[in-house]
């Protein structure tokens, strides 16, 4: 076949070799472009995934901490009487004959509502949000609510009474 298509002569042989080299170079170039295309595509996906993940985590952390602090601060503001537990991880909020115990436990903020006068314990409540820690303290006529989420902590002051 080869002999028929390219008769063996010194001119044709050189021509054939040059064509073969050009074909190989073209195929390799195309393959390299394809590899470059694939690498760039992977890079784009990796960058996009990383950014999306960072945005999602940031939003979740921020939302968890801020919503928890606002929830607690609204509860404290509307309360007739507030009792902060000694270790600062819980507070009993009395309002209209009902007592809501807001406490931190098991990686989240919990709330339990009981009738005023009953024994108050910080367990068996409903989960409000996911946080790393929560602390409520009293100083200079203010409540200080500190909530940690995703390795960051935020504080909020709320006027007492």
């Amino acid at each position: 076949m080869r002999d028929k298509k390219f008769p063996v002569s010194s001119g044709n042989r050189a021509d054939y070799r040059a064509r073969t080299l050009a074909d190989t170079a073209s195929a390799v170039g195309s393959m390299l472009l394809f590899v470059l295309f694939a690498v760039c595509m992977l890079l784009a996906v990796a960058v996009a995934a990383d950014t999306y993940s960072r945005i999602k985590n940031g939003f979740q952390q921020s939302f968890g901490a801020v919503s928890s602090m606002k929830y607690i601060s609204n509860k404290l503001r509307s309360a007739d009487n507030v009792t902060v537990f000694e270790d600062g991880t819980a507070a009993a909020v009395e309002n209209g004959g009902m007592v809501s115990v807001i406490y931190f436990g098991d990686g989240g903020l919990y709330e339990k509502t009981t009738v005023s006068g009953e024994e108050i314990t910080a367990d068996g409540g409903d989960r409000i949000s996911e946080i790393d820690f929560m602390r409520i303290s009293e100083r200079d006529g203010l409540y200080e609510i500190t909530v940690g989420s995703g390795g960051e902590s935020s504080s909020l002051l709320v006027r007492r009474g």
Binding site: R19, S26, L33, M41, I55, S62, L142, V158, R159
Partner: protein
């Protein structure tokens, strides 16, 4: 090139197609990166604004208790800046902690009106960064001679 003319043309076409695809991809890639960078920037800005809002709320609450600019900053941020004619300025870092070389500026401006039994005070809390406003809060407080009571706006 002369040798390639008229011979195995599909390879050349494939090559050209790949280059066009790559160019298209580069344009799309630039666009995607720009969109994600914008989203990231917006998210950071939003988090900064949320922290500024919490910080402003703390300052307002502390001001409602103390009725004093310096004292309210001391309670809210643990800072001891000097008040000058009802205006107070302090630099904060990205975590909203007092830092002299911080990029965020907190400005408190107070205006008082004597009402006989006490002062009616208006406080403007403004956070800025690189000349742009992050968050601002205006609050009013009636401060009796003996203490403070405030209504936030």
């Amino acid at each position: 090139m002369i040798l390639l003319r008229g011979y195995r043309r599909p390879n050349n076409l494939l090559f050209a197609e790949m280059i066009i695809s790559l160019l298209f991809f580069i344009l799309s890639f630039a666009l995607i990166i720009r969109v994600f960078a914008g989203a990231d920037s917006l998210e950071r800005e939003e988090r900064r604004r949320e922290r500024a809002a919490l910080c402003a709320q703390s300052v307002a609450e502390a001001y409602s208790v103390s009725g004093d600019l310096s004292k309210s900053l001391e309670l809210a941020l643990g800072a001891f800046p000097e008040e000058r004619g009802g205006r107070l300025e302090i630099r904060l870092d990205e975590d909203f902690k007092p830092e002299d070389s911080g990029g965020i500026t907190l400005v408190l401006e107070e205006s008082r009106t004597d009402s006989g039994a006490g002062d009616y005070s208006e406080l403007e809390i403004c956070f800025t960064r690189s000349g742009g406003e992050i968050y601002s809060l205006k609050c009013g407080a009636y401060i009796p001679r003996t203490g403070g009571a405030a209504v936030e706006q």
